[in-house]
């Protein structure tokens, strides 16, 4: 273990003394959720229509929440930045969705899915939430099939499954390589049914720019119409934030170009705690960046590791073409290092192994930042047709982008930023520390600890939206008497002034650096210093560099056009300003956490075999940061007390 000395002065981190409470209900793990449901207060059906609920986001979390709340009779207003709810970033999920159905009779159960998820997350998630997730997973599949989601079937007409990383059972349901698309279209169709019933009012091309907090409770939002630039205000009895993840803070990621942190960050600035922001997942199998103009990275689904084998030449000097390298000269390093899980190790483990062999000089091509994902032996074993049935669209996508066919040559892949486990802090009810602000899906931090297992984000988004929020939101409304609020309240006026002023000041800078250049600059710092491997020194450097980028942004931004019509550059600039601030908090969070866990790999803390070394005594907590204007953030801690599972060193060997 090597300890790198910090070259920069120690950062002082102010910690709040009172511990945060996640409010997990008492009792046995498997009883908690049913007990909660039977004891919670209900909103009488006739009263539901008196409540206005704002849902921000129309991905799996927002789509399913909107539909379900509307079905229950609430008046729902749903907002999204895209021109239609069906284009939310969830659409791009490829591989599948987990559920403990045990249809394969291979020993799966709610308990096993729970354990896999907790362990996969390297013991940094809240037990009660994860158990509930595993519990409702089975209902999700029933729900989606009933909607008409065309999941893969076998010849007998039953549903079929595939395996994903970090599990030894087959519990992943899929619709070719387009599972997210089909699940989202299911949620979207349920939503549109409620739109036609006028239970949902739809607001497309609208970007939430502020949360309105009145008397300490979330009571509305301020949005910008992206086509006209108009600033609008909306009141509600509760706000359900489902705005997705912030992986684009790294500029290059597998996230859609519109995925952003703004909605969550603005809530953070209004008092919502941001939890574990440094937990960002790097997906091992993405198409490597090809050059400086690269605008995003494309994922090659984890499902490919069911049949694809990852390798590099044994010798760093071996520059032969893949087909000329005989078996003996190949290093199938995942199978070698992790014989029990082989190519199906969890993502963080796989990504680091790939980085390691590339650091050793064995990486492929001009950049040396790629390894092979080879289907040769699977095609020999199962035939090309079988492989094409399973992965055809992914192979086509690979060929479209790279110009090479994976049927003929192994794919080349490299890790990329893919998902964030961090997000706004929520309690068991999925409610933030601001009463009335609920946060679902990738936008919250709740279920995946320090590392998410494949096919579990879709599960979580839909669990939150279909099966959790209808209960917990009702409980909140029934327990709180909420005065009527008006959109003429001072809080709205102040917020609107602020939002307008901000856009004006962005347009007034008239400097020379474009949004794209500044975003690339931020991304490079994030990847190099807050990326796959971090050190105290690298993080201290990031904490110096990011404020410099912030200064440059606010003094040298080159932004053209106006605020009164469609202006993509303005949208991007406004989002980048938030990414920069968030990036700094991520570095601070990673700096504070002097251990390695899951995707958070501090080089100083590793086992002799290069695996993350946790420090449960000091860091078995959720870090939840409070925003303090013009000063350092304050750290709140939620202790993670494992009552039902023993925290052990993960072992995938």
């Amino acid at each position: 273990m090597s300890i790198i000395k910090a070259a920069l002065p120690e950062k002082e981190i102010v910690t709040h003394v009172k511990k945060l409470d996640g409010k997990s209900p008492g009792g046995e793990l498997h009883d908690k959720w049913s007990k909660y449901k039977s004891e919670m207060k209900l909103v009488n059906p006739a009263n539901k229509r008196k409540y206005n609920i704002i849902v921000v986001g129309s991905g799996l979390a927002g789509g399913s929440a909107s539909a379900t709340l509307a079905e229950l009779g609430y008046n729902v207003k749903t907002f999204c930045v895209q021109d239609t709810p069906r284009r939310a970033h969830s659409i791009a999920a490829q591989g599948g969705i987990n559920a403990a159905k045990n249809y394969q009779n291979d020993g799966d159960s709610v308990q096993r899915l729970f354990i896999d998820t907790i362990k996969g997350g390297d013991y940094r998630a809240r037990e009660a939430n994860v158990y509930r997730l595993a519990e409702v997973s089975t209902n999700i599949i029933d729900q989606c099939v009933a909607q008409g989601v065309p999941f893969a079937r076998d010849y007998g007409g039953l549903l079929t499954n595939r395996s994903f990383g970090g599990a030894q059972v087959s519990r992943t349901f899929y619709a070719r390589g387009q599972t997210g698309q089909q699940l989202l279209l299911g949620a979207y169709s349920s939503m549109m049914r409620q739109v036609s019933k006028k239970q949902i009012e739809l607001f497309t091309n609208k970007e939430m720019l502020d949360l309105i907090v009145i008397d300490g409770k979330a009571r509305g939002i301020v949005v910008r119409d992206l086509k006209t630039g108009d600033i609008e205000k909306h009141t509600a009895e509760a706000v359900v934030l489902c705005s997705g993840g912030y992986g684009n803070v790294f500029f290059l990621s597998t996230n859609g170009k519109n995925s952003n942190a703004t909605a969550a960050w603005r809530c953070h600035k209004k008092g919502a705690l941001m939890a574990n922001p440094c937990f960002a997942q790097i997906h091992p199998t993405c198409i490597p960046a090809s050059g400086e103009y690269q605008s995003k990275l494309t994922l090659m689904s984890e499902s490919l590791r069911n049949d694809g084998r990852v390798w590099v030449p044994k010798s760093a000097d071996d520059k032969r073409a893949s087909e000329d390298i005989p078996e003996n000269d190949r290093d199938y390093f995942l199978e070698r290092m992790y014989p029990a899980y082989g190519n199906l190790v969890p993502r963080d483990v796989g990504s680091r192994a790939i980085k390691r062999v590339c650091d050793e000089g064995k990486g492929l091509g001009a950049t040396g930042r790629a390894v092979y994902l080879d289907f040769g032996s699977a095609m020999d074993r199962l035939g090309e047709k079988n492989i094409s049935d399973k992965y055809g669209n992914l192979f086509d996508m690979y060929e479209t982008i790279t110009g090479e066919s994976p049927y003929k040559k192994p794919m080349r892949i490299y890790p990329a930023i893919h998902y964030v486990m961090g997000g706004l802090w929520v309690d068991y009810d999925c409610m933030s520390n601001i009463p009335g602000l609920f946060v679902l899906g990738e936008a919250n931090f709740s279920d995946h600890g320090a590392n998410r297992l494949g096919a579990s984000a879709l599960m979580q988004g839909l669990a939150d939206g279909y099966f959790v929020i209808p209960y917990t939101l009702g409980n909140y409304l029934a327990n709180n008497s909420l005065d009527a609020v008006s959109d003429t309240a001072d809080e709205f006026k102040e917020s609107i002034d602020e939002v307008k002023k901000r856009n004006e000041s962005l347009l007034k800078i008239k400097g020379s650096s474009t949004v794209l250049e500044l975003h690339r600059e931020l991304g490079a710092v994030m990847w190099d210093f807050v990326g796959m491997a971090r050190t105290k020194d690298s993080l201290a450097q990031a904490l110096e560099k990011i404020p410099q980028i912030k200064d440059k942004f606010w003094s040298d931004l080159n932004l053209i056009g106006n605020d009164d019509n469609l202006n993509k550059s303005l949208e991007n600039a406004s989002r980048l300003a938030d990414f920069i601030e968030l990036g700094e908090l991520m570095a601070l969070d990673a700096y504070d956490r002097e251990e390695s866990c899951g995707a958070h790999f501090r080089e100083e803390y590793q086992t002799s075999e290069g695996e993350p070394l946790r420090n449960d005594e000091k860091y078995a907590y959720v870090s939840a940061w409070e925003y303090i204007p013009d000063s350092s953030s304050i750290l709140h801690k939620e202790d993670l007390n494992y009552e039902f599972v023993e925290m052990t060193q993960r072992n995938y060997k």
Partner: protein
């Protein structure tokens, strides 16, 4: 093989729905062939911004061919010359040095131009709203394996359900018909037991909505199928017609 190419671009610029637009001419030098078409436009927009010119508005999100956000016409073809490929997945290696590329928005009466290459496809949502769903509330689903669906039926339903709602079919149709889009959803549900129950009402309501939104009638040009990036087949339109007739007859 040359690694970069030079291009002449002729791009439709239009400030808003109500203003009139026209073509602007730009030349692009040393475009790397391994970048995507949208990355090429990103470079152009960077150059425009640096010269103080408002960048070209075009829409994209996933840049993986799945969200249906991107889409415009290149040299008369929706999504450009590469078949089965959205414009975000189109790479510059398919163009030649010296090519002139005419880039314009999807043109169809029901798709109003918002700005430059961005159009409003909100009418697609209205068509889905008219019946593109199974009427089931959350929590009511029976065990998923209690509904048996043969592999082939599931695959066919999937083929129809793969539509990304990009609107290329409408833009390429001489009548601006939305038949391919609408029929894809109708056939998806028609091919599954879950979708059978409401089929009659669905097909009627969705087809009526299509007309109401100002889309033209389908007269079998099949241009839609040719440009569809997801390979949605015009068999779906036949399915829709059959289903429509049945719904009227009985």
């Amino acid at each position: 093989m040359a690694n970069t190419i030079n291009l002449k671009l002729q791009v439709w610029r239009q400030e808003s729905a109500d203003s009139s637009g026209d073509f602007h001419y730009y030349s692009m030098e040393d475009v790397p062939v391994d970048i995507s078409f949208l990355e090429m436009l990103d470079i152009l927009n960077e150059n425009l911004t640096k010269s103080g010119i408002v960048p070209i508005s075009f829409d994209s999100d996933c840049r993986e061919g799945i969200c249906g956000t991107c889409g415009f016409v290149i040299n008369g073809i929706a999504h450009g010359p590469q078949s089965r490929t959205t414009v975000c997945q189109l790479h510059m290696r398919h163009f030649n040095d010296g090519d002139t590329l005419v880039i314009e928005p999807f043109r169809a009466t029901p798709f109003k131009i918002v700005k430059d290459l961005v159009v409003d496809r909100g009418s697609f949502d209205k068509i889905i709203q008219a019946g593109g769903y199974v009427s089931i509330n959350t929590g009511n689903g029976p065990d998923a394996n209690s509904i048996l669906i043969g592999k082939e039926d599931a695959e066919e339903a999937f083929d129809s359900a793969a539509c990304i709602g990009c609107g290329a079919c409408v833009a390429s149709c001489p009548n601006a018909s939305a038949a391919l889009f609408t029929s894809a959803k109708i056939s998806h549900l028609l091919q599954l037991p879950q979708g059978q129950i409401e089929q009659k009402a669905r097909v009627k309501s969705m087809v009526d909505k299509m007309d109401e939104e100002g889309f033209g009638a389908c007269s079998n040009h099949a241009e839609c199928e040719a440009v569809c990036p997801k390979g949605i087949s015009i068999k779906n339109i036949a399915n829709m017609r059959r289903s429509l007739i049945k719904s009227i007859v009985k």
